[in-house]
């Protein structure tokens, strides 16, 4: 009785190619489908010479006027480092109110100044 013929590699693998190809194509299609702007969260196509970022907010006319007054401080001999509000002008002061930084964080920063 002749020994059974060993199965060739081609005979067993060929049926597997079709499902593997299908899986590969599906993965490729899903991956490429994810290349959309809304999914990437950034601009993918640019128009030459056109700014496509977020629009900036213009300053108001009042602020612009205040800036015009404020520059006069730079003309004088003295420095413009004062707490602001000099001579009762309407321009905002240079000093901000204290931030809501916890005192512990400030102490930690102070520790860095010790050099130890």
């Amino acid at each position: 009785m002749p020994a059974p013929r060993p199965a060739k590699m081609d005979d067993t693998m060929r049926p597997m190619w079709a499902p593997l190809t299908m899986v590969f194509l599906t993965v490729a299609a899903v991956s490429l489908g994810a290349c959309r702007e809304d999914e990437q969260g950034r601009v993918l196509l640019f128009n030459k010479g056109v700014y496509l970022g977020k629009a900036d907010t213009d300053i108001t006319a009042d602020v612009r006027r205040a800036l015009g007054h404020r520059i006069q401080r730079q003309a004088s001999g003295g420095a413009g480092t004062s707490g602001g509000g000099a001579s009762g002008s309407a321009t905002p002061p240079n000093i901000r109110p204290p931030a809501s930084t916890p005192i512990d964080a400030l102490r930690e920063r102070l520790r860095h100044q010790s050099g130890n």
């Binding site: 640019f46 977020k54 907010t57 205040a66 730079q74 003309a75 413009g80 480092t81």
Partner: protein, 198 residues
């Protein structure tokens, strides 16, 4: 409409570098990036002059012209700003800028660059005014608060002027008249061929 401009009076600048420090502190600029720096020539010799340099917010900005992703724009007040969301860190603006204003954080090995960073004239960026996102990406928006750039406002000798170009030139014109000689502006002697130029 105002055209915001910087002007550094080389006759007054004493190279204290306070503008550099103030800028870094105000905007919490990361290590390795200096938006403003003081340049000195003839250091320690006769004719020594210093000038504070940052983005000059050019009217016809070359950085805007060369940006391949058009991330740089100009506001109505002439301030040149950019969007870090669009920037790809290519470095073209650095090569185009005559003042060396654009800076890049190191983003990885082999000198790869991160998003460009530069002086914003204390006007933030395209994010919502005075929002956390704006502060983290671009620094403080003093213009929206009705304040001019801190580097100029705290300059102890008032060498650095910042604001509406017309008013800046008015202030500077008065100084030149009061001095009674040259302008003291950088390159004046070269431009107008004064002997031993100032």
């Amino acid at each position: 409409m105002a055209r915001m401009k910087f002007l550094c009076d080389a006759e007054r600048c004493i190279e204290c570098n306070a503008c550099t420090v103030a800028c870094k502190n105000e905007h919490e600029v990361p290590w390795g990036i200096t938006r403003r720096r003081v340049v000195t020539i003839n250091d320690g010799k006769p004719g020594e002059r210093s000038i504070s340099v940052a983005c000059m917010h050019c009217s016809d900005a070359p950085c805007i012209a060369v940006c391949p992703v058009d991330c740089i724009y100009q506001t109505e007040d002439g301030v040149v700003l950019h969007s870090k969301d669009l920037c790809i860190g290519c470095g073209y603006c650095f090569y185009a800028c005559p003042f060396g204003a654009p800076q890049y954080p190191q983003a990885g090995n082999y000198g790869s660059r991160g998003k460009m960073d530069k002086c914003t004239f204390c006007a933030g960026g395209p994010e919502e005014d005075n929002s956390d996102a704006e502060f983290k990406k671009y620094g403080r928006n003093r213009l929206a608060e009705g304040k001019l750039p801190l580097c100029a406002e705290m300059c102890s000798t008032n060498a650095l002027l910042a604001g509406d170009g017309e008013k800046v030139s008015d202030i500077y014109r008065e100084r030149v008249v009061a001095r009674g000689f040259g302008s003291g502006a950088w390159g004046w002697g070269t431009a107008y061929q004064i002997k031993g130029g100032r």
